[in-house]
Amino acid sequence: MDLKPANPNERRQYYREEWNVKNIPDFILKSLIQREFGFDHMGRGPNDRYRVFQNTDFLRKFMRYRAPFAAYSSVAFYHKPRRRDGWIKAELVFDVDAKDIPIRSCGCDNVCEICLNQAKDIVHGLVDTLKGDLGLSDIHMVYSGRGYHIRVLDDQVTGVDSDVRSQIVKYLVGSDVPRSEYSLAGMKYNLEHFTIPFGYPQVFTDRVKQAILALDPSMEMDGVNQKLIRDAIKYKDFLETDDWGIFRSKIGPIRYVKLIKGIASLNLTLVDAKVSIDLKRILRLPSSLHSGVSMKCTEIKNLETFEPFEDAVPKFVYERKD
């Protein structure tokens, strides 16, 4: 499918014929008056900021008549959203952009089905950790047009500051290499991350596995030479069966440490951390049109069955003549 931009007529058609204010998820509608809205009318960035809508009808009319190039709402809740003042709390957000996945198996220039699927796998892993390790449950997933947004609204995390959010990001993406040396009663013991089937070491193991399985010989990684990347690819089948010990010994213990350090550092870019730690960010409004690629920003009910090229394509794309 050709991901070309939507023209003004197509935008107008979308907002008049296809879009419905009820398609905006409840988690946004029920806090409508506490959120700031922002719009990009010309495709040059969201310059129309500080918008507030007292009810869904005002928002409906605005979208219908202005048919913006892009629409955004704040992740933050404010007492005075028009002045971005009186910050109450902010959703905890993770932005997985298919174009920015650090190890992409497709090699495409923009986004394609392969990297969007890879992004979906990453989202799966992150959501599992949010639930299983961090015990969070009010989690919403949104297809953004070029990737995925994970939006968490559990009360336990919406009040936390940027520093705590950055710690959550690091935990989730596996950007710290877990220690392998432990001591007990004066004796030193070695426990590699892959021998610990729970907690952060398990998260790290999962992320490293995901990365190695997607490795490409042309990949560049800090502190990892091409020979090491080639070897990791050569022996990656051992990871399919979780034979980490064999994989490590084939690679060599010192080179293995280099490899996982390189991956840990790349993992930081699995999500756009700036989005996660920003307490006042605006995020693409679910249900709105991503005019840059002519796709709908869509709330996902079931990630397993969601297919962007089936569920997020506006009608006008099918009606295009060229």
């Binding site: 900021r49 932005d95 015990g135 432990y182 021998t195 729970f198 930081l268 006042k280 960010r281």
Partner: protein
């Protein structure tokens, strides 16, 4: 049996001791029993009678002195402070702890160097005291303390929000399941036992959690409680009419104890030694810039330009030029403290930042000229289009981002070299390398001279930080967050 308050003076037992004392009356009177405990401690080494604390106030100062000397004095002798680990001093120690917190809270407030030293010293003292106990007794004390501190059997990880925020602990250090922190062995075995293959689950528990993690959490929680208590005192003191003069005097004495190593060794230099006093400041030398700054100087592509120029380059360039040892000195300053006529800012700092902005693709100010105002704001001159002294202080002079923050905010800039592995902030890289560059320059100029025996470089007066940089990735204004930035995704 050691009292919990010996480790945590803020425990109910500790509070009872304070309640018993009642008032400040007689706080500076001699306590013969305290002198007797100190002099009869078998591990105690006494070089001079004046070293023996005679009352609560002197004991309070000894606590601070112990920490400062331990950190800074290469000839530190722990036996001269052996009494601090003697549980017989508990009731005096608890009072001296409260006096210190109150004095610091009243006079300096929670964001001061004095508070930081007090909190760190309390953490170190708890560890020291635990280390001196018998293993079983220590274990029991940790268990009891944790029971009091955690208040519940099941603890959600967000309970540690403050500790995580201040980076006293890392989320990745905790063992979590369904949002709960796992500390108890039975709980651990029940949850993870069936998943553990080829290893003994009990041994795994001992290694991963055992005494170590519990002790870490207990110490960090006590440190956090200490910090919170100082904050509380400070807030109350603001509405009080007049603070007690005894506390004000103690605060001054604490400041003196803390300033001593600045005069002798340079605070924060650690036992590794090094030059004292502030570092020599001078023209910027791009050869000493870290890889991330060099990369930013080359220009940034659309998307990361604002953060790179405003949040990253502006603090780095300004501090490297004007106040390179900010983390070592740990004293908040304004630009004009270092550059009274703003000559260096106008002629060296801004031109370099503007050059980096011009190298961006597209040039940053072409489409976002308002970012010049933001640069002024990050230098501490408020949101104004020009730098004027009357605006200074309207905003904070941002300290350089730590490597950790750069990895999060600007990952594309971070391509570490070997020196990067030893530092936690690009400014530390610069300080380390500027010394190296100067040394090389001196060597090469000496090589060019005749063989007259002057070839040995003399850096004794350079006040360099080589080899002893204490990383302080927690910047002076570290609470500066992304919350003043508004982006979109």
């Amino acid at each position: 049996m050691v009292s919990i308050s010996f480790l945590n003076p803020l425990s109910p037992e500790g509070k009872d001791i304070v309640r018993e004392l009642g008032s400040f009356e007689g706080i500076s009177q001699d306590i013969p029993e305290l002198r007797s405990i100190v002099t009869h401690n078998p591990s105690q080494e006494i070089a001079d009678d004046d070293e023996i604390p005679s009352n609560y106030l002197e004991l309070a100062l000894k606590r601070m002195e112990w920490y400062i000397k331990k950190k800074n004095d290469r000839e530190f002798n722990g036996r001269r402070y052996a009494f601090l680990s003697d549980s017989a001093i508990t009731k005096y120690d608890v009072i001296s702890f409260y006096l210190l917190c109150q004095a610091i809270g009243v006079k300096f407030g929670p964001n001061s160097r004095e508070t930081r030293v007090m909190v760190e010293s309390q953490g170190d003292l708890v560890r020291e005291r635990l280390g001196k106990l018998h293993v079983d007794e220590g274990r029991m004390m940790v268990e009891q303390s944790l029971q009091l501190l955690l208040a519940d059997d099941t603890v959600h990880w967000t309970f540690f929000e403050e500790l995580l925020s201040s980076r006293k602990i890392r989320l990745t250090d905790l063992i979590l399941d369904q949002g709960e922190l796992i500390l108890d062995q039975e709980d651990f075995l029940q949850r993870f036992g069936p998943r553990i293959k080829h290893r003994n689950p009990e041994s795994m528990y001992q290694l991963l959690i055992g005494d170590e993690l519990k002790e870490l959490i207990m110490v960090k929680l006590i440190m956090q409680e200490t910090e919170d208590y100082i904050k509380q005192v400070h807030e109350k003191a603001r509405i009080m009419v007049e603070p007690n003069p005894i506390l004000l005097q103690l605060a001054e004495d604490v400041a003196e104890v803390l300033s001593e190593p600045m005069q002798h060794y340079g605070y924060g230099y650690g036992s590794g030694g090094g030059g004292g006093g502030p570092m020599k400041i001078g023209p910027l030398n791009p050869l000493a810039f870290p890889p991330c700054v060099k990369k930013a100087m080359e220009g940034i592509k659309s998307g990361g330009r604002n953060d790179a120029i405003v949040l990253f380059m502006t603090p780095f360039i300004s501090y490297a030029r004007l106040y390179p040892d900010v983390f070592r000195m740990n004293i908040t300053k304004r630009v004009s403290d270092q550059d009274p006529n703003l000559e260096s800012v106008e002629n060296e700092i801004l031109p370099l930042i503007y050059e980096a902005a011009q190298n961006c693709v597209p040039p940053l100010f072409d489409d976002q000229p308002q970012e010049k105002v933001n640069i002024n704001a990050k230098l501490g001159f408020g949101m104004h289009s020009s730098l004027k002294m009357e605006h200074e202080g309207e905003t904070t002079w941002y300290t350089p981002m730590s490597c950790e923050k750069i990895k999060l905010h600007l990952p594309h800039l971070c391509h570490p070299d070997d020196v990067c592995k030893k530092i936690g902030n690009p400014l530390s890289y610069y300080n380390r390398m500027i010394w190296e560059v100067r040394r090389q320059e001196k060597e090469s100029s000496d090589d060019g001279q005749s063989d007259d025996g002057q070839g040995k470089s003399n850096n004794d007066n350079e006040n360099s930080t080589e080899g002893n940089l204490k990383e302080d990735s927690k910047s002076v204004n570290d609470n500066q967050s992304a919350d003043d930035k508004k982006g979109e995704a």
